[in-house]
């Protein structure tokens, strides 16, 4: 099993009874920031103990590393516009949707050029890029400092939600030494199954880790993704070789930088390998199809093994799922696993061909009146 990133699994949860929060200044944070608070507190973002200070941010922007040289590629920032806070103060971060209450010890209050953040992290300053748009929409000041989680509530899908501490116990209990993580935002088609099982062949266990949260209109709903995977795992996976747990975090669409971030989070869950596909965490044409593969060569100290998959398709001549390294046949024999096409077939209430999606999976999806986000 992988050691946590930075060497120590962070736990920033404290007993609220031990703290007098009455006199603390309170401010509301949005749900994305509340998810960041939870991910810091539970160790998903280890070694972060709080939101980035300016020194760390500068290093992340310029060198893709924290100030202590630990690899870190995505700025985890708390933006705010409350003017009466100053360095050395403590404040209470509150979010009703996630039921989060957390103490912030403010170490640094600073501003930073958002255009520089956009250019370095997203490789563009175009506002049509969703990550850039979100960066520009941030408030002008940032507060850095450690957080301590005081409260969070039980939420939908918590039965699928394991912390890194829990997955580490789970992997140990299953006797897995090498674990490959698969990230997803869609129900599984045959191509996904091929990738997962190919990787699983060489390790002890598969950790399916869907990202749950805010989605675009037309995307599959979270409950559809979870139920479809439940079905696939029930019928086509060995119980002792595959588990699924969700990850609540927002997609940044930062392409290569985000691929590293995704790998770090899975390392904290205990995974030793991480599947990186074509245009991982990409959007539009902002990144090359394999930029997210190439960036891994910059990090000899990451300590999670990326497993790179290029494009894969079904070859009618081979009669199986193939990739460009194993199939000699012409493109005319290849059927691509088009998410768009599968969505179109399912939208019309029909079951996609069995060489695209398992019948049981398709039937599970069609049990939902409307499987898509409106």
């Amino acid at each position: 099993m992988s050691k946590p990133h930075g060497g120590k699994l962070i736990n920033r949860k404290i007993n609220k009874e031990l703290l007098n929060t009455k006199d603390l200044s309170e401010f509301e944070i949005n749900t994305n920031l509340a998810e960041d608070v939870l991910n810091i507190a539970n160790g998903v973002f280890s070694p972060l103990e709080g939101f980035l200070c300016k020194n760390d941010l500068e290093n992340v922007i310029k060198d893709k590393r924290l100030a202590d040289d630990t690899p870190w590629t995505i700025p985890i920032l708390l933006d705010f516009d409350k003017n009466d806070l100053k360095e050395g103060d403590s404040a209470l971060l509150v979010n009703k949707e996630a039921g989060v209450k957390a103490l912030l010890e403010i170490e640094d209050i600073f501003t930073y050029d958002k255009k520089t953040i956009a250019k370095e992290v997203y490789r563009t300053t175009e506002t049509s890029h969703p990550g850039v748009a979100n960066t520009y929409n941030m408030k002008d000041s940032f507060a850095g400092g450690k957080i301590s989680l005081l409260e969070c509530k039980t939420r939908e899908y918590d039965e699928y939600n394991l912390t890194p501490k829990e997955t580490r116990v789970l992997f140990k209990e299953k006797g897995w030494q090498e674990i490959v993580a698969f990230q997803t935002r869609n129900p599984p088609h045959i191509g996904h199954e091929y990738v997962q099982k190919t990787a699983l062949t060489f390790v002890d266990g598969l950790f399916i880790n869907p990202i749950i949260g805010k989605k675009k209109s037309g995307d599959f709903r979270d409950d559809v993704i979870l139920k479809s995977y439940d079905t696939l795992m029930k019928h086509y996976y060995l119980k002792d070789r595959a588990v699924m747990s969700i990850l609540r975090t927002s997609m940044k669409y930062a392409g290569p930088r985000e691929a590293i971030h995704h790998a770090i989070m899975r390392k904290n869950f205990g995974c030793t390998h991480f599947i990186v596909g074509r245009d991982h965490a990409g959007v539009g044409n902002y990144y090359g199809p394999y930029d997210a593969h190439e960036i891994f060569s910059e990090f000899p100290d990451l300590h999670i093994v990326p497993i790179f998959f290029r494009s894969f398709s079904r070859c009618t001549k081979c009669g199986s799922v193939v990739n460009d390294k194993i199939c000699p046949h012409d493109q005319k024999y290849h059927i691509n696993f088009s998410g768009k096409k599968i969505r179109e077939i399912l939208s019309s209430g029909k079951i996609p061909p069995e060489d695209m999606m398992r019948k049981e999976v398709a039937e599970t999806i069609l049990e939902f009146d409307d499987p898509f986000v409106k």
Binding site: K3, P4, G6, G7, K8, L9, D69, E159, L162, K165, E166, V169, L170, E173, K174, V243, S297, P300, D301, H303
Partner: protein
């Protein structure tokens, strides 16, 4: 001021000249842009395997609590 700050981020080390020459030859045509970037890469690879702290050992109560939840959720029997 900015230069002074920049200086603090890097330090100079000495390596034998013949070794430096070998490295320069080796990195020609690779993605490494300088002797420093290559040496930094190699040292990060070597050091990172050594400096990580010992894996945290959970207390018995902690582990039991986690196992109980995993069992209740059907992750383990």
């Amino acid at each position: 001021m900015a230069k002074e700050k920049e200086n603090k981020k890097f330090t100079t080390i000495s390596i034998p000249t013949p070794l430096a020459e070998k490295i320069k030859k080796r990195i020609k045509g690779t993605g490494f842009t300088s002797l420093s970037s290559y040496v930094t890469y190699v040292l990060r690879e070597v050091i990172s395997g050594m400096d990580e702290e010992e894996e945290e050992v959970f207390s018995k109560e902690d582990e039991k609590r986690v196992k109980d939840r995993l069992r209740a959720l059907g992750y383990i029997d």
